[in-house]
Amino acid sequence: MRMTKLHELFSCRHAKLLILLLLLSGICAGCLGQDPLEARVKKLTHSLGDKDQNVSYASVYALVDIGEPAVDSLIKALKNDSPQVRSLAARALGEIGDQKAVGFLIEVLDDPSPEVRMNAAFSLGSLGAAEAVEPLIELLKDENEGVVLSAVSSLGELRDPRAVEPICEVLNDNNYDARWKIASALRGIGDPRAIDTLLGLLGDKELGPSVASMLGNFESEQVFGKVIKLLDSRDPTTRANAVAVFEYLQDPAAVPYLVEMLDDRAPEVRKEAAFALGFFKEPGEVAQSEQPLIKALEDSEPEVKEAAARSLGRIKSKESIPYLEELLQDNNQNLQTAAIEALGRIGDPEVVDALTPLLENKKWKVRTEVVDALVEIGGPEAVNSLISLLGDENYRVRQGAAEGLGKLGDQRAVEPLLKALETERERNVRAVEVRALGELGGSEAVEGLRRINKDMEEYWNVRTAAENILEKIEGVEEANVSSTS
């Protein structure tokens, strides 16, 4: 129908004029019909310079959402007169992740505005731009600390060993964040040339423990010998963090050294050694560490004793049980809970009798620790104790007991759990009790769960928990019926 109209128009006397008008209309339509995405990109790129930070930042997010179609406009914006536009464009290009931007971002690493240099450096790291390594190394000489740290982080992401020495050279900063970023970048590169610099940071009171874990990422043969030398350092912080490196390296050859460090003169070193030994659980390793750790339970410092107790639990030392039982009566709560945790981990049912009196302890922390230990140990006696704790005055203890009863799977717990649900007021405890009933199962439990599911005055999460369990149980029942039929 439209074609007919056009044909009629062309047949009139003023055909030339009409053709001109048609051309004009075409141009107008072309203008009006500009690709809406292109128009939006243009508008958003312009908004990067908005004085209102909410607008300029929202524009960055919108351009990042648009992605690849916005890249050309953003590259052009790197040459904008406004430093804000250049800086945000540099950042957006990194977020979009189009490799086309790499060369242009390298070009603006010498931009007069530090924000632009910083964002360009950051984006080059995000883009994984290997060709940016040399320019970024050059940027480590920048006068602006933010720019230097941005370059450091990006070099860490690029993982080029050429960056190790230049990064080590900028490590003279007193600022913790700066030191941490530099150490992280060295860890990220993972080149053995960074090891000495990182070892030098083990004496850093703030950064040392993080550096110890970073050194654990290197191959043991690259680090081990150097760490042993640091065990003789005069500085106790260095010695303690050197001990911690062994924990992360997990090299069995470290065990004798760690045992030796249990006699160090500094308590923090002894504590670290006692703690680290808990992570060496092979029989040969345990044979070397068990007795020294039991001896460490008599250390003058409670922190060392606590670490030794926890480690004896981790290595499941049965020989340490009588010594740990003695600690149950200690006045130091941390020591007491460490002993309870250890006895739980060792898992000998005979210790239940020693743990049960602690259920009367006034401190809820102690009682919850006993609950956890009883759940680890299991057995009929543990179940009886947990049932009695469903009426504890502290909600954490009641919750732990209910959870434990669900895990232990003893049907005797169904009735006490249903009874507890009659009076329990706390939302989270009720939900755990319902889930425990679900784990125990059985007709009585299912009946109770149905009641809860129908109660419109029940907490929503408790009702939903009951509903989900019932759906699961009914699903299994249906499957069983269909398989037997």
Partner: protein, 282 residues
Amino acid sequence: MKKSTLISISAALLILALGVLWYYGSGADVKIIDMNASSVGVRESGKLDIVLQNNGSKPVDVWLEVENAFVDKNGEARSTSRLIISNDSVDPWDAKFVSLQKPIHLLPGNNSVSVWLGYELPGEYPVNVKVIENSRLLDEGTYLVQIPLPEIHLKLEYETESRNTSDIYRIYGYLINKGLGSAMDVSTNLTVIDERTGELVFTSSRTYDVRNNDKVPLWSWPDYPYAIVEIVHGEPSGESYMPVQNVVIGEIEDRFLINVTSTWQDQVVSAELLIPPRGESK
């Protein structure tokens, strides 16, 4: 009329006709064939599922313009931030989001998209959806979203303990919502009146949020009651009852009317307890 005037008028009409043709003509054949929103309460996030049918044989890029998807408490509509494409997930955080800054790529046949919805007040909201291609309106539809009202209730209960020369009444309470919409900022006042003298002896207030088909405890600290009334027979116990803030100490001849009233918009509900209850020996 002069010939040149006629030509000018014809030309103007032609431009207009071409403009109309350009605007309404030759667009892709895309229709909204279904819109559906699941139940959503006040200040909850919901979704409007839209089925768009591309009747052409090729994929087409369209934009969606959605009005009234988000309406604040002043009745002002806000734009929705993201679309969800091909979302099979129930969890909104697992949904695949697509920016409204980009067109939606519709394949031939039916395509499902969803938009987020959110309303601060109950009521009916006509959500208008326009499908646009290169500034041409291809189709338009409206879906009426209904945001139901919450239905609030109060429940009070207590337990007693006799300790030394005092009777201690621990009062617990719940704000219950049996409706489908959430009730936010429910103002709740506690008043304690000496029944004998009619004197107001204690007041406190707090706001609560309660979602649909849920309840919230009136107490703030786990294992501690909402309020405590201690009736002293001899020497007061001297207990502070911290962290419970609502504490009233009375003597043996006292009886207190505990009233809790919750107000949310035009809903007002109350619950009362008499402590000690009538019939309980003083």
